[in-house]
């Protein structure tokens, strides 16, 4: 099997030889680049697409492992697409794998937005372009409004007074009082930590909650 495509079985751990690893790097770059190039918009859109490509089509990752990856990607800061790429790359070829995957994911937006940034300055004065952007702003406002409505629905579904309280307080702090967002995030994380710890204590202490 020496000349077979260097796709590791999903469970061969660190046994992949160094040579195979480096054969894999351009493949990782190519696959993540293709995925990124055809995923429009940001956010979770890319997660099911990654699942399809890496699990079902390429058999690089096992299904359960992919679910773990998505969970980790969501727990860490940063774009989901980048975080998942880091994990998939790391699983396949260690740190060089992570780097190839991130380069692949970043490449299409880097080229496209690089060009658009150059063009934007010279075209934004054109009345027809300005008219299109004027309409698009209303469209994108609707897209964000739609996402915000779904987010609030999810929080309501949780039926957690804590989550609802954090939502309302954080919103008021930012929108009405203009509090620094890093402060808001730090306070919310601390509140979540304290809340979960006290609830844990209550449960252990006799279950009055």
């Amino acid at each position: 099997m020496g000349f077979a495509p260097a796709v590791p079985a999903a469970r061969d751990g660190g046994a992949t030889s160094v040579n195979k690893k480096y054969v894999l790097l351009p493949k990782i770059f190519l696959q993540t680049m293709l995925l990124s190039a055809f995923t429009f918009g940001g956010g979770y859109v890319i997660v099911p697409l990654m699942q399809k490509r890496f699990v079902e089509k390429l058999h690089w990752i096992e299904h359960n492992e992919m679910l773990d990856f998505v969970a980790i990607a969501q727990s860490a800061p940063g774009p989901i697409a980048i975080n998942t790429s880091v994990l998939v790359g790391h699983r396949l070829a260690g740190l060089p794998g992570s780097l190839s995957a991130v380069l692949g994911t970043v490449f299409p937006p880097l080229v496209i937005l690089g060009v658009l940034a150059g063009v934007y300055a010279s075209f934004s004065g054109n009345p027809w372009v300005a008219a299109a952007m004027f309409g698009m702003r209303a469209g994108v406002a609707a897209v964000i409004l739609d996402v915000a409505v779904s987010l609030v629905k999810n929080i309501i579904k949780e039926k957690s007074i804590f989550s609802a309280a954090v939502l309302v307080l954080a919103f008021a702090a930012k929108f009405i009082f203009g509090v620094n967002i890093l402060l808001i995030l730090a306070a919310s994380a601390a509140a979540g930590l304290v809340f979960s710890l006290t609830r844990e204590k209550k449960k252990k202490g006799g279950g009055e909650a």
């Binding site: 980790i72 774009p79 937006p109 658009l116 469209g139 409505v149 601390a190």
Partner: protein
Amino acid sequence: MIYLRLFWSFVQIGLFSFGGGLAVLPQIQYQAVEVRHWLTLKEFVDLVSLSEMTPGPIAINAATFVGMRQAGILGALASTFGCVLPSLVIVVILAVVYKKFKHLKGFQGALGGLRPAACALIISAGLTVLMVAVFGIDAVPRSLAGAGDFYRRLLEVRIFPLLVLAGATLLLQLKKVNPVLIIASAGVLGILQYALVRAGVFG
């Protein structure tokens, strides 16, 4: 030095955006509009429109767009590298220690507080975008407490974007239409409206 400033601002954007997707909007608005003044509010909204219609995560799109405009290709590379660096470091560490981390109550608890807060910040950024789109406001005050002039401007609603917004929101909520299609169609409507105004249809 501009490259370092771009790099550092986008390290912070990458580091403090929890929850993926639009969660990065408040961070971009904070760093690039409010702290550094690299974008006007209108340019920020245009950037979001362009990002939603082109491939790639919004944070990377923003890093490239802002970096390119401030300092050319090297600027774009500096800010994009800054944007992915926290992910690279943190996710690789998490990948190694995740199994232990997963059951740590404190970690889950902190995330439980971050999720609704990230949601609140997205709503706040969304309202800012809405104000730019519908009311043509190019400078939302940092806080709404004591901004009398701002409230007066809210009375100057513009009918056309309001109609587009209402129609698009209905289509998204009820028919689950693809957002890319929504934004593109809204752009076409903008052009049509301009053509009609120019032709004197609206006087």
